[in-house]
Symmetry: C2
Subunit: 272 residues, 2 copies
Protein backbone atom coordinates (compact mmCIF):
# COMPACT_ATOMS: atom_id res chain seq x y z
CA UNK A 1 0.00 0.00 0.00
CA UNK A 2 2.94 2.32 0.63
CA UNK A 3 3.38 3.19 -3.03
CA UNK A 4 -0.01 4.88 -3.09
CA UNK A 5 1.06 7.50 -0.55
CA UNK A 6 2.58 9.70 -3.19
CA UNK A 7 3.22 13.40 -2.90
CA UNK A 8 0.68 13.82 -5.66
CA UNK A 9 -2.03 12.06 -3.67
CA UNK A 10 -1.18 14.07 -0.55
CA UNK A 11 -1.42 17.33 -2.48
CA UNK A 12 -4.77 16.33 -3.94
CA UNK A 13 -6.14 15.36 -0.52
CA UNK A 14 -4.81 18.54 1.08
CA UNK A 15 -7.11 20.47 -1.23
CA UNK A 16 -9.93 17.91 -1.15
CA UNK A 17 -13.03 17.82 1.03
CA UNK A 18 -13.37 15.82 4.23
CA UNK A 19 -15.54 13.35 2.31
CA UNK A 20 -12.78 12.96 -0.32
CA UNK A 21 -10.32 11.97 2.40
CA UNK A 22 -12.75 9.57 4.09
CA UNK A 23 -13.41 7.85 0.75
CA UNK A 24 -9.73 7.67 -0.15
CA UNK A 25 -9.09 5.93 3.17
CA UNK A 26 -12.12 3.66 2.84
CA UNK A 27 -11.04 2.63 -0.66
CA UNK A 28 -7.49 1.88 0.45
CA UNK A 29 -5.95 4.80 -1.45
CA UNK A 30 -4.57 6.52 1.67
CA UNK A 31 -2.98 5.02 4.78
CA UNK A 32 -0.92 8.00 5.98
CA UNK A 33 -1.65 10.47 8.75
CA UNK A 34 -4.25 13.17 8.22
CA UNK A 35 -2.02 16.17 9.05
CA UNK A 36 -2.90 19.05 6.71
CA UNK A 37 -5.41 16.99 4.70
CA UNK A 38 -8.74 18.58 3.68
CA UNK A 39 -7.61 22.02 4.78
CA UNK A 40 -10.30 24.04 6.51
CA UNK A 41 -12.23 21.00 7.74
CA UNK A 42 -12.24 20.08 11.43
CA UNK A 43 -10.55 16.81 12.37
CA UNK A 44 -11.68 14.82 15.39
CA UNK A 45 -10.50 12.40 18.05
CA UNK A 46 -12.39 9.10 18.08
CA UNK A 47 -13.41 6.89 21.00
CA UNK A 48 -15.66 3.84 20.66
CA UNK A 49 -17.05 2.20 23.80
CA UNK A 50 -19.75 -0.39 24.59
CA UNK A 51 -23.22 1.05 25.24
CA UNK A 52 -23.05 0.07 28.91
CA UNK A 53 -20.28 2.65 29.41
CA UNK A 54 -21.56 5.24 26.95
CA UNK A 55 -23.77 7.30 29.28
CA UNK A 56 -20.92 7.69 31.79
CA UNK A 57 -18.45 8.49 28.99
CA UNK A 58 -20.81 11.15 27.68
CA UNK A 59 -21.20 12.55 31.22
CA UNK A 60 -17.40 12.64 31.45
CA UNK A 61 -17.20 14.68 28.24
CA UNK A 62 -19.89 17.11 29.42
CA UNK A 63 -18.14 17.59 32.77
CA UNK A 64 -14.71 18.08 31.18
CA UNK A 65 -15.44 20.09 28.04
CA UNK A 66 -11.95 21.54 27.66
CA UNK A 67 -10.09 18.24 27.18
CA UNK A 68 -13.19 16.46 25.74
CA UNK A 69 -15.20 18.81 23.51
CA UNK A 70 -17.90 16.49 22.22
CA UNK A 71 -18.78 17.05 18.55
CA UNK A 72 -21.03 14.07 17.81
CA UNK A 73 -22.11 10.68 19.14
CA UNK A 74 -23.53 7.86 17.05
CA UNK A 75 -26.69 5.91 17.77
CA UNK A 76 -25.94 2.59 19.46
CA UNK A 77 -24.70 0.15 16.80
CA UNK A 78 -24.76 2.78 14.03
CA UNK A 79 -21.30 3.22 12.42
CA UNK A 80 -22.20 6.58 10.83
CA UNK A 81 -21.60 10.03 12.34
CA UNK A 82 -24.80 11.45 10.86
CA UNK A 83 -24.36 15.02 12.10
CA UNK A 84 -20.72 15.85 11.46
CA UNK A 85 -19.90 13.35 8.70
CA UNK A 86 -23.00 12.19 6.78
CA UNK A 87 -22.21 9.07 4.75
CA UNK A 88 -19.23 8.19 6.93
CA UNK A 89 -18.38 4.67 8.05
CA UNK A 90 -16.48 4.84 11.30
CA UNK A 91 -15.28 1.23 10.81
CA UNK A 92 -13.15 2.07 7.76
CA UNK A 93 -12.86 5.86 7.35
CA UNK A 94 -9.82 6.32 9.59
CA UNK A 95 -6.36 5.34 8.41
CA UNK A 96 -5.35 3.98 11.81
CA UNK A 97 -7.12 2.58 14.89
CA UNK A 98 -5.94 1.36 18.30
CA UNK A 99 -7.83 -1.52 19.89
CA UNK A 100 -7.77 -1.84 23.68
CA UNK A 101 -9.09 -4.72 25.77
CA UNK A 102 -9.27 -4.31 29.55
CA UNK A 103 -7.19 -1.14 29.14
CA UNK A 104 -4.37 -2.87 27.23
CA UNK A 105 -3.45 -2.03 23.62
CA UNK A 106 -3.91 -5.34 21.79
CA UNK A 107 -3.95 -4.27 18.13
CA UNK A 108 -3.34 -1.47 15.66
CA UNK A 109 -5.27 -1.76 12.43
CA UNK A 110 -6.74 0.22 9.53
CA UNK A 111 -10.13 -1.53 9.49
CA UNK A 112 -12.34 -2.40 12.47
CA UNK A 113 -15.26 -3.89 10.51
CA UNK A 114 -14.63 -7.32 12.00
CA UNK A 115 -14.74 -5.88 15.51
CA UNK A 116 -17.94 -3.89 15.08
CA UNK A 117 -20.88 -4.85 17.27
CA UNK A 118 -24.49 -3.77 17.69
CA UNK A 119 -23.78 -2.36 21.15
CA UNK A 120 -20.94 0.01 20.24
CA UNK A 121 -21.21 3.79 20.49
CA UNK A 122 -18.73 6.12 18.79
CA UNK A 123 -17.78 9.57 20.09
CA UNK A 124 -16.06 12.32 18.08
CA UNK A 125 -14.22 15.03 20.01
CA UNK A 126 -12.60 18.22 18.78
CA UNK A 127 -8.86 17.98 18.18
CA UNK A 128 -5.96 20.37 18.35
CA UNK A 129 -5.02 20.04 14.67
CA UNK A 130 -8.04 22.25 13.97
CA UNK A 131 -7.04 24.44 16.88
CA UNK A 132 -3.61 25.17 15.40
CA UNK A 133 -5.31 26.10 12.13
CA UNK A 134 -7.40 28.66 14.02
CA UNK A 135 -4.29 30.23 15.51
CA UNK A 136 -2.54 30.36 12.12
CA UNK A 137 -5.62 31.82 10.43
CA UNK A 138 -5.53 34.59 13.04
CA UNK A 139 -1.91 35.38 12.27
CA UNK A 140 -0.61 33.87 15.51
CA UNK A 141 2.60 31.86 15.83
CA UNK A 142 2.31 28.10 16.34
CA UNK A 143 5.80 27.29 17.56
CA UNK A 144 5.76 23.49 17.37
CA UNK A 145 4.72 23.49 13.70
CA UNK A 146 8.00 25.29 12.93
CA UNK A 147 10.02 22.51 14.60
CA UNK A 148 11.20 19.31 12.83
CA UNK A 149 8.41 16.73 13.13
CA UNK A 150 5.93 19.43 14.16
CA UNK A 151 4.77 17.61 17.28
CA UNK A 152 3.37 19.42 20.28
CA UNK A 153 4.49 18.84 23.89
CA UNK A 154 1.90 16.90 25.92
CA UNK A 155 1.90 16.13 29.66
CA UNK A 156 -0.17 14.40 32.31
CA UNK A 157 -1.01 17.34 34.58
CA UNK A 158 -1.87 17.55 38.26
CA UNK A 159 -5.36 18.83 37.38
CA UNK A 160 -8.01 16.22 38.21
CA UNK A 161 -10.82 15.70 35.72
CA UNK A 162 -14.37 15.73 37.12
CA UNK A 163 -15.18 12.00 37.38
CA UNK A 164 -18.15 10.16 35.85
CA UNK A 165 -18.72 6.51 36.73
CA UNK A 166 -15.53 4.54 35.98
CA UNK A 167 -13.99 7.50 34.13
CA UNK A 168 -11.62 9.52 36.30
CA UNK A 169 -8.01 10.68 36.34
CA UNK A 170 -5.68 13.56 35.58
CA UNK A 171 -6.23 15.96 32.70
CA UNK A 172 -3.73 15.58 29.88
CA UNK A 173 -2.62 19.01 28.64
CA UNK A 174 -0.70 20.40 25.69
CA UNK A 175 1.82 23.22 26.02
CA UNK A 176 2.22 26.03 23.52
CA UNK A 177 4.96 28.59 24.20
CA UNK A 178 3.31 31.94 23.40
CA UNK A 179 5.20 35.23 23.01
CA UNK A 180 4.38 37.45 26.01
CA UNK A 181 2.74 40.11 23.84
CA UNK A 182 0.49 37.59 22.05
CA UNK A 183 -0.92 35.86 25.16
CA UNK A 184 -4.02 38.06 25.48
CA UNK A 185 -4.87 37.65 21.83
CA UNK A 186 -4.31 33.86 21.90
CA UNK A 187 -6.64 33.59 24.90
CA UNK A 188 -9.26 35.75 23.20
CA UNK A 189 -9.13 33.76 19.95
CA UNK A 190 -9.07 30.28 21.46
CA UNK A 191 -11.92 30.98 23.91
CA UNK A 192 -14.17 31.45 20.89
CA UNK A 193 -13.58 27.83 19.83
CA UNK A 194 -14.93 25.69 22.70
CA UNK A 195 -15.40 22.71 20.36
CA UNK A 196 -11.64 22.46 19.79
CA UNK A 197 -10.59 22.78 23.46
CA UNK A 198 -11.44 26.49 23.90
CA UNK A 199 -9.36 28.78 26.11
CA UNK A 200 -6.31 27.74 28.13
CA UNK A 201 -6.63 25.73 31.36
CA UNK A 202 -3.47 27.37 32.74
CA UNK A 203 -1.14 30.26 31.88
CA UNK A 204 2.38 30.49 33.32
CA UNK A 205 4.32 28.44 35.87
CA UNK A 206 4.09 24.77 34.84
CA UNK A 207 4.77 23.63 38.42
CA UNK A 208 1.44 25.18 39.47
CA UNK A 209 -0.32 22.35 37.58
CA UNK A 210 2.14 19.67 38.62
CA UNK A 211 4.53 19.83 35.65
CA UNK A 212 8.01 20.17 37.14
CA UNK A 213 10.13 19.65 34.02
CA UNK A 214 8.70 20.77 30.69
CA UNK A 215 11.44 18.88 28.84
CA UNK A 216 10.13 15.59 30.26
CA UNK A 217 7.11 15.22 27.98
CA UNK A 218 4.68 12.33 28.33
CA UNK A 219 3.74 12.45 24.63
CA UNK A 220 5.07 14.41 21.64
CA UNK A 221 8.28 16.42 21.64
CA UNK A 222 9.90 18.71 24.25
CA UNK A 223 9.01 22.35 23.62
CA UNK A 224 11.37 25.15 22.69
CA UNK A 225 10.45 27.96 25.12
CA UNK A 226 12.06 31.30 24.24
CA UNK A 227 13.11 33.93 26.79
CA UNK A 228 10.04 36.05 26.04
CA UNK A 229 7.63 33.12 25.81
CA UNK A 230 4.96 32.24 28.36
CA UNK A 231 4.04 28.56 28.71
CA UNK A 232 0.29 28.27 28.03
CA UNK A 233 -1.59 25.00 28.58
CA UNK A 234 -4.74 23.62 26.97
CA UNK A 235 -6.88 20.56 27.60
CA UNK A 236 -5.74 17.78 25.27
CA UNK A 237 -7.68 15.12 23.36
CA UNK A 238 -5.43 12.42 24.80
CA UNK A 239 -7.35 12.86 28.08
CA UNK A 240 -10.42 10.77 27.18
CA UNK A 241 -8.20 7.97 25.83
CA UNK A 242 -6.04 7.95 28.95
CA UNK A 243 -9.09 8.01 31.20
CA UNK A 244 -10.93 5.29 29.25
CA UNK A 245 -7.85 3.06 29.22
CA UNK A 246 -7.53 3.51 32.99
CA UNK A 247 -11.19 2.47 33.31
CA UNK A 248 -10.15 -0.90 31.77
CA UNK A 249 -13.21 -1.26 29.56
CA UNK A 250 -13.57 -4.78 28.10
CA UNK A 251 -13.33 -3.19 24.64
CA UNK A 252 -12.41 0.30 23.52
CA UNK A 253 -11.30 1.50 20.10
CA UNK A 254 -9.69 4.87 19.37
CA UNK A 255 -8.02 6.59 16.44
CA UNK A 256 -4.27 6.06 16.21
CA UNK A 257 -2.24 9.22 16.90
CA UNK A 258 -2.30 11.49 13.83
CA UNK A 259 -4.91 9.36 12.06
CA UNK A 260 -8.00 11.44 12.77
CA UNK A 261 -11.64 11.39 11.72
CA UNK A 262 -12.24 13.97 9.00
CA UNK A 263 -15.51 15.81 9.65
CA UNK A 264 -17.63 17.95 7.34
CA UNK A 265 -17.48 20.79 9.90
CA UNK A 266 -15.55 23.82 8.74
CA UNK A 267 -13.06 25.08 11.30
CA UNK A 268 -14.20 28.64 10.67
CA UNK A 269 -17.80 27.67 11.47
CA UNK A 270 -16.77 26.45 14.94
CA UNK A 271 -16.30 30.08 15.95
CA UNK A 272 -18.63 31.17 18.71
Amino acid sequence: MLDIETDDMRRRLEHGTAADVRLAIRDGRWRGTTHALARGYAQANLAIVPAGAALDFMRFCLRNPKPCPLLDVTDTGDPEFRQIAPGSDVRRDLSGYCVYRDGVLVDETDDISALWRDDLVAFAMGCSLSFDAVLQDNGLRVAHLAQPGGRIAVYTSGIDCVPAGPFRGPMVVSLRPIPQDEVDRVVEVTRRYPSVHGGPVHIGDPAAIGIHDTQAVDWGKPPVIGANDVPVFWGCGVTPQAVAMAAKLPLMITHKTGHMLLTDLKVKALDQ
Copy 2:
Protein backbone atom coordinates in the same frame (compact mmCIF):
# COMPACT_ATOMS: atom_id res chain seq x y z
CA MET B 1 -48.05 28.54 52.56
CA LEU B 2 -49.20 31.61 50.65
CA ASP B 3 -48.60 33.96 53.55
CA ILE B 4 -44.87 33.29 53.43
CA GLU B 5 -44.60 34.69 49.92
CA THR B 6 -44.27 38.20 51.17
CA ASP B 7 -42.81 41.10 49.26
CA ASP B 8 -40.13 41.17 51.91
CA MET B 9 -39.14 37.57 51.26
CA ARG B 10 -39.12 38.14 47.53
CA ARG B 11 -36.86 41.18 47.89
CA ARG B 12 -34.47 39.23 50.08
CA LEU B 13 -34.31 36.32 47.63
CA GLU B 14 -33.87 38.67 44.66
CA HIS B 15 -30.59 39.76 46.23
CA GLY B 16 -29.70 36.34 47.62
CA THR B 17 -27.49 33.65 46.15
CA ALA B 18 -28.75 30.67 44.18
CA ALA B 19 -28.06 28.50 47.25
CA ASP B 20 -30.19 30.87 49.39
CA VAL B 21 -33.13 30.36 47.03
CA ARG B 22 -32.69 26.57 46.87
CA LEU B 23 -32.65 26.39 50.68
CA ALA B 24 -35.65 28.69 51.06
CA ILE B 25 -37.59 26.39 48.75
CA ARG B 26 -36.30 23.22 50.43
CA ASP B 27 -37.30 24.57 53.85
CA GLY B 28 -40.79 25.52 52.65
CA ARG B 29 -40.16 29.26 52.92
CA TRP B 30 -40.78 29.92 49.21
CA ARG B 31 -43.35 28.40 46.85
CA GLY B 32 -43.57 31.15 44.23
CA THR B 33 -41.96 31.35 40.81
CA THR B 34 -38.25 32.09 40.48
CA HIS B 35 -38.55 35.11 38.15
CA ALA B 36 -35.90 37.69 39.16
CA LEU B 37 -34.71 35.69 42.17
CA ALA B 38 -30.94 35.43 42.88
CA ARG B 39 -30.14 38.05 40.27
CA GLY B 40 -27.04 37.26 38.24
CA TYR B 41 -27.30 33.50 38.68
CA ALA B 42 -28.31 31.27 35.78
CA GLN B 43 -31.62 29.45 36.09
CA ALA B 44 -32.20 26.12 34.40
CA ASN B 45 -34.87 23.91 32.90
CA LEU B 46 -35.15 20.48 34.53
CA ALA B 47 -35.93 17.09 33.01
CA ILE B 48 -35.70 13.80 34.92
CA VAL B 49 -35.90 10.52 32.99
CA PRO B 50 -35.22 6.84 33.76
CA ALA B 51 -31.65 5.69 33.04
CA GLY B 52 -32.84 3.52 30.15
CA ALA B 53 -33.78 6.68 28.22
CA ALA B 54 -30.95 8.88 29.51
CA LEU B 55 -28.32 8.15 26.84
CA ASP B 56 -30.79 8.94 24.05
CA PHE B 57 -31.99 12.06 25.86
CA MET B 58 -28.39 13.23 26.23
CA ARG B 59 -27.79 12.52 22.52
CA PHE B 60 -30.89 14.57 21.75
CA CYS B 61 -29.50 17.51 23.72
CA LEU B 62 -26.10 17.27 22.02
CA ARG B 63 -27.73 17.16 18.57
CA ASN B 64 -30.07 20.06 19.31
CA PRO B 65 -27.94 22.44 21.36
CA LYS B 66 -29.97 25.57 20.61
CA PRO B 67 -33.25 24.43 22.18
CA CYS B 68 -31.48 22.06 24.64
CA PRO B 69 -28.22 23.59 25.91
CA LEU B 70 -27.10 20.99 28.43
CA LEU B 71 -25.57 22.46 31.60
CA ASP B 72 -25.26 19.39 33.83
CA VAL B 73 -26.42 15.81 34.23
CA THR B 74 -26.53 13.89 37.50
CA ASP B 75 -25.11 10.45 38.11
CA THR B 76 -27.78 7.75 37.92
CA GLY B 77 -29.78 7.81 41.16
CA ASP B 78 -27.92 10.85 42.54
CA PRO B 79 -30.29 13.76 43.32
CA GLU B 80 -27.48 16.36 43.43
CA PHE B 81 -26.27 18.52 40.53
CA ARG B 82 -22.65 18.40 41.69
CA GLN B 83 -21.21 20.67 39.00
CA ILE B 84 -23.67 23.54 38.72
CA ALA B 85 -25.34 23.39 42.14
CA PRO B 86 -23.18 21.66 44.78
CA GLY B 87 -25.27 20.73 47.80
CA SER B 88 -28.51 20.82 45.82
CA ASP B 89 -31.30 18.27 46.21
CA VAL B 90 -33.21 18.06 42.96
CA ARG B 91 -36.12 16.36 44.75
CA ARG B 92 -36.99 19.42 46.85
CA ASP B 93 -35.09 22.47 45.57
CA LEU B 94 -37.63 23.52 42.94
CA SER B 95 -40.87 25.23 43.93
CA GLY B 96 -42.92 23.35 41.35
CA TYR B 97 -42.64 20.08 39.43
CA CYS B 98 -44.75 18.38 36.75
CA VAL B 99 -45.02 14.59 36.80
CA TYR B 100 -45.76 12.79 33.54
CA ARG B 101 -46.55 9.11 33.08
CA ASP B 102 -46.70 7.71 29.55
CA GLY B 103 -46.60 11.29 28.30
CA VAL B 104 -49.61 12.42 30.34
CA LEU B 105 -49.40 15.07 33.09
CA VAL B 106 -50.61 13.23 36.18
CA ASP B 107 -49.48 15.52 39.02
CA GLU B 108 -48.09 18.92 39.94
CA THR B 109 -46.22 19.02 43.23
CA ASP B 110 -43.53 20.86 45.18
CA ASP B 111 -41.72 17.75 46.43
CA ILE B 112 -40.78 14.65 44.43
CA SER B 113 -38.93 12.82 47.22
CA ALA B 114 -41.54 10.05 47.26
CA LEU B 115 -41.14 9.54 43.49
CA TRP B 116 -37.35 9.40 43.48
CA ARG B 117 -35.75 6.14 42.33
CA ASP B 118 -32.23 4.75 42.02
CA ASP B 119 -32.53 4.68 38.22
CA LEU B 120 -33.43 8.34 37.64
CA VAL B 121 -31.15 10.79 35.83
CA ALA B 122 -31.68 14.55 36.02
CA PHE B 123 -30.73 17.00 33.26
CA ALA B 124 -30.35 20.77 33.65
CA MET B 125 -30.64 22.90 30.52
CA GLY B 126 -30.04 26.61 30.03
CA CYS B 127 -33.15 28.76 30.17
CA SER B 128 -34.24 31.99 28.62
CA LEU B 129 -34.71 33.85 31.89
CA SER B 130 -30.92 34.06 32.00
CA PHE B 131 -30.92 34.94 28.32
CA ASP B 132 -33.13 37.99 28.88
CA ALA B 133 -30.75 39.11 31.66
CA VAL B 134 -27.90 38.98 29.16
CA LEU B 135 -29.80 41.21 26.72
CA GLN B 136 -30.69 43.69 29.46
CA ASP B 137 -27.12 43.77 30.78
CA ASN B 138 -26.02 44.69 27.26
CA GLY B 139 -28.48 47.57 27.12
CA LEU B 140 -30.82 45.83 24.69
CA ARG B 141 -34.61 46.02 24.81
CA VAL B 142 -36.52 42.96 26.01
CA ALA B 143 -40.01 43.79 24.79
CA HIS B 144 -42.06 41.13 26.58
CA LEU B 145 -40.67 42.12 29.99
CA ALA B 146 -42.27 45.54 29.48
CA GLN B 147 -45.70 43.96 28.91
CA PRO B 148 -48.18 43.07 31.69
CA GLY B 149 -47.37 39.55 32.90
CA GLY B 150 -44.01 39.64 31.17
CA ARG B 151 -44.48 36.37 29.31
CA ILE B 152 -42.72 35.64 26.04
CA ALA B 153 -44.46 34.29 22.90
CA VAL B 154 -43.68 30.62 22.27
CA TYR B 155 -44.62 28.47 19.25
CA THR B 156 -44.24 24.97 17.90
CA SER B 157 -42.23 25.65 14.73
CA GLY B 158 -41.92 23.77 11.47
CA ILE B 159 -38.22 23.12 12.17
CA ASP B 160 -37.60 19.45 12.91
CA CYS B 161 -35.22 18.57 15.72
CA VAL B 162 -32.49 16.05 14.96
CA PRO B 163 -33.91 12.81 16.41
CA ALA B 164 -32.27 10.50 18.96
CA GLY B 165 -33.94 7.20 19.80
CA PRO B 166 -37.54 7.87 20.88
CA PHE B 167 -36.93 11.63 21.08
CA ARG B 168 -38.05 13.48 17.97
CA GLY B 169 -40.40 16.26 16.95
CA PRO B 170 -40.61 19.94 16.08
CA MET B 171 -38.45 22.59 17.71
CA VAL B 172 -40.32 24.89 20.05
CA VAL B 173 -39.18 28.48 19.55
CA SER B 174 -39.58 31.80 21.33
CA LEU B 175 -40.14 35.08 19.50
CA ARG B 176 -38.58 38.37 20.49
CA PRO B 177 -39.51 41.43 18.41
CA ILE B 178 -36.21 43.27 17.93
CA PRO B 179 -35.87 46.85 16.61
CA GLN B 180 -34.40 46.71 13.09
CA ASP B 181 -31.30 48.62 14.11
CA GLU B 182 -30.59 46.34 17.09
CA VAL B 183 -30.81 43.01 15.24
CA ASP B 184 -27.09 42.73 14.44
CA ARG B 185 -26.10 43.53 18.00
CA VAL B 186 -28.66 41.08 19.46
CA VAL B 187 -27.31 38.32 17.22
CA GLU B 188 -23.73 39.14 18.17
CA VAL B 189 -24.48 39.17 21.91
CA THR B 190 -26.67 36.06 22.04
CA ARG B 191 -24.28 33.94 19.94
CA ARG B 192 -21.74 34.34 22.73
CA TYR B 193 -24.08 32.52 25.14
CA PRO B 194 -24.54 29.01 23.69
CA SER B 195 -25.48 27.61 27.10
CA VAL B 196 -28.62 29.75 27.22
CA HIS B 197 -29.83 29.00 23.65
CA GLY B 198 -27.14 31.00 21.79
CA GLY B 199 -27.90 32.84 18.56
CA PRO B 200 -31.26 32.94 16.79
CA VAL B 201 -32.55 29.95 14.80
CA HIS B 202 -34.44 32.27 12.43
CA ILE B 203 -34.65 35.99 11.65
CA GLY B 204 -37.59 37.49 9.80
CA ASP B 205 -40.68 36.00 8.11
CA PRO B 206 -42.37 33.69 10.66
CA ALA B 207 -44.05 31.73 7.84
CA ALA B 208 -40.62 30.55 6.68
CA ILE B 209 -40.46 28.36 9.81
CA GLY B 210 -44.13 27.36 9.71
CA ILE B 211 -45.58 30.05 11.97
CA HIS B 212 -48.45 31.59 10.02
CA ASP B 213 -50.06 33.71 12.75
CA THR B 214 -47.81 35.14 15.44
CA GLN B 215 -50.86 36.07 17.52
CA ALA B 216 -51.81 32.40 17.82
CA VAL B 217 -49.18 31.43 20.43
CA ASP B 218 -48.83 27.86 21.68
CA TRP B 219 -47.47 29.01 25.06
CA GLY B 220 -47.08 32.41 26.73
CA LYS B 221 -48.61 35.64 25.45
CA PRO B 222 -49.04 37.06 21.91
CA PRO B 223 -46.20 39.44 21.06
CA VAL B 224 -46.49 43.16 20.36
CA ILE B 225 -44.52 43.63 17.12
CA GLY B 226 -43.88 47.27 16.27
CA ALA B 227 -43.64 48.68 12.73
CA ASN B 228 -39.84 48.83 12.90
CA ASP B 229 -39.44 45.48 14.68
CA VAL B 230 -38.08 42.28 13.13
CA PRO B 231 -39.40 38.99 14.52
CA VAL B 232 -36.38 37.00 15.76
CA PHE B 233 -36.72 33.38 16.90
CA TRP B 234 -34.64 31.34 19.38
CA GLY B 235 -34.67 27.70 20.38
CA CYS B 236 -36.81 27.31 23.50
CA GLY B 237 -36.42 25.16 26.59
CA VAL B 238 -39.97 23.85 26.17
CA THR B 239 -38.59 21.70 23.31
CA PRO B 240 -37.09 18.89 25.42
CA GLN B 241 -40.27 18.69 27.51
CA ALA B 242 -42.49 18.54 24.43
CA VAL B 243 -40.27 15.93 22.82
CA ALA B 244 -39.98 13.82 25.95
CA MET B 245 -43.76 13.93 26.50
CA ALA B 246 -44.28 12.80 22.91
CA ALA B 247 -41.88 9.89 23.55
CA LYS B 248 -44.38 8.73 26.22
CA LEU B 249 -41.76 7.72 28.78
CA PRO B 250 -43.22 5.62 31.63
CA LEU B 251 -42.06 8.36 34.01
CA MET B 252 -40.72 11.84 33.40
CA ILE B 253 -40.51 14.77 35.82
CA THR B 254 -39.88 18.38 34.82
CA HIS B 255 -39.89 21.78 36.46
CA LYS B 256 -43.25 23.59 36.39
CA THR B 257 -43.27 26.66 34.14
CA GLY B 258 -41.55 29.56 35.91
CA HIS B 259 -40.33 27.35 38.76
CA MET B 260 -36.74 26.84 37.69
CA LEU B 261 -33.65 25.24 39.15
CA LEU B 262 -31.35 27.93 40.55
CA THR B 263 -27.72 27.16 39.64
CA ASP B 264 -24.48 28.51 41.09
CA LEU B 265 -23.39 29.53 37.56
CA LYS B 266 -23.13 33.27 37.05
CA VAL B 267 -24.85 34.45 33.89
CA LYS B 268 -21.86 36.65 33.07
CA ALA B 269 -19.55 33.63 33.26
CA LEU B 270 -21.56 31.83 30.55
CA ASP B 271 -20.09 34.27 28.02
CA GLN B 272 -17.95 32.61 25.38
